[in-house]
Amino acid sequence: MSNEVEKPRRISYLLLTIIIVTLAVSAVALSLALIDVDAQGNIVLKQNIDGSLLLIGGSGFIVSAYMLLQTRRRTMRLEIKEHPVITTIVCQKCGFKNVRDFQRGDYIYKEAEPCPKCNEKTSVTSIYREVEEKH
């Protein structure tokens, strides 16, 4: 069975275009509000900043950046993590413990292969998966 799941595309190109256009317009508004060109052709900070353009540019920039971040976060969440399932086999006589990946046909209390140390019977004592808890 394949563990890979085809990732569905969640970001629409239209939404991405709108975000990029908003970002560009906001950048223009911000530059108009803050930057000026002096007589020598140097770029300088405006002495009289245009408040409304600063507001438009700033809010547009924040909103589009947030939306871009949100779409990125959503695609990242789509990945499915699968945790390995472990089988523990214990020798009933000497207590030798063998921990390996689960194999089809394993079940708890199944008689497994003879003990490599004492050649006695071994049995599967537990089958589990380990999960890293996200807090």
């Binding site: 408040g51 409304s52 708890i108 199944k110 589990y128």
Partner: protein, 373 residues
């Protein structure tokens, strides 16, 4: 150099400044009149994303079922058509206008469904042994559930799109995270049941299996095993569903039979089952209480309650906590480790709630897939 001043009295009078201000105003007007419509489309897009994910799960379930049948059952022909028919299987609940006797009607219905599923699997996978048959049956049931999730979400999505009703779409969008959580749990269950791995729901069965190790077992109806074990100076009848195939058995019938074999002389019944935890609680926490600890449609719970009431037998319950996702996914280490804690609790309950020489019943409830005895 003077610090820059922020001018708030009218703004830039250049053409670009005017265009930007008009665009800003338009943005507000559009949001004022079409805000709901935009919200609706955003929600529909979100549902679409989840739906495509559900479709992937559904297809994976179907593919898995077909592969498992072909691999284990060695069918003569292509089982695809039969699997597709099975995925559309439904069971109509009994009429409850007159609720007297509904338990027996429900039990009959469940028995018929069980038989039908088994027969279907036998036809689809003639070479499968009993354990494999049970696992294939469970794989098909999980695939059926994944198909159901997809179809229900698709139904409401199309309905919402057709009616453009914000409230239909909003309701679906609100429950979608819970549906997706369930669907993802079923998806991981798919792999577990296909391979025959123990699942979280089998915690109770695992406790019983551990207690009956090294003692003689006998089969009791239906699909259960019992072992008579000396336990803390008492005689304990340990009951669990017969493993290692995917099976929950009928613990109601099994407990009733043991009580009747002992002419009602049972000092105490202790039932161990996996129970749903609240968010914030740790998986594998063990709690104790009273009552019949058993899930499902309620038939077994009803039978046990009837029998214990008849003979006035106290019923104690031990719960191993886990969430819905864990209960149908491969068993977590925390739950596997909780078995020893649960056994210690059983010992304490037995010592406190019965006398030496008494006869008791300890029933490990749950799906015994991947757990022998």
């Amino acid at each position: 150099m003077l610090p820059p001043q922020i001018n708030l009295d009218g703004g830039d009078n250049s053409l670009i400044g005017w265009i930007l201000q008009i665009a800003w105003l338009l943005f507000f007007v559009v949001f004022m009149f079409y805000g709901n419509r935009i919200q609706l489309y955003v929600m529909l897009r979100e549902i679409e994303g989840s739906m495509s994910r559900l479709k992937i799960f559904r297809d994976e379930g179907r593919k898995n079922a077909i592969q498992t049948i072909e691999e284990l059952g060695k069918p003569k022909g292509d089982p695809t058509a039969r699997v597709d028919q099975f995925l559309e299987y439904f069971a109509l609940p009994p009429q409850s206008m007159d609720p007297a006797g509904i338990v027996w009607k429900l039990e009959h219905l469940l028995d018929v469904m069980d038989e039908r599923f088994k027969d279907e699997v036998k036809i689809m996978a003639p070479a499968a042994d009993m354990t494999q048959t049970r696992n294939i049956e469970l794989t098909l049931e999980v695939a059926l559930d994944l198909n159901y999730f997809y179809k229900v979400v698709r139904h409401f999505y199309i309905l919402g799109k057709k009616t453009l009703s914000l409230y239909v779409i909003m309701q679906l969008q609100m429950v979608l995270p819970l549906i997706m959580r369930m669907a993802e749990a079923y998806r991981s269950a798919l792999k577990a049941v296909t391979l025959g791995q123990p699942i979280g729901d089998g915690a109770g069965a695992l406790v019983a299996a551990k207690l009956m190790q090294g003692y003689e077992k006998r089969k009791i109806p239906k699909d259960c095993v019992v072992a008579t074990v000396p336990f803390e100076g008492r005689t304990a009848h340990i009951i669990k569903a017969e493993g290692p195939g995917g099976n929950v058995g009928k613990p109601g019938d099994a407990i009733k039979q043991i009580i009747e074999e002992n002419e009602g002389k049972i000092a105490n019944i202790i039932m161990i089952d996996a129970g749903e935890k609240y968010e914030g609680e740790e998986p594998g926490e063990v709690a104790e209480g009273i009552g019949v600890a058993i899930g499902g449609p309620g038939v077994d719970q009803f039978k046990i309650e009837e029998t214990t009431l008849k003979y006035k037998i106290p019923v104690n319950a031990i719960k191993i906590k886990e969430d819905i996702g864990d209960s149908i996914s491969p068993m977590r280490k925390e739950i596997s480790d909780a078995v020893n804690t649960a056994i210690e609790r059983i010992k304490r309950v037995v010592r406190e709630r019965s006398k030496e020489g008494d006869t008791i019943i300890i029933a490990g409830i749950g799906n015994t897939i991947g757990i022998g005895q």
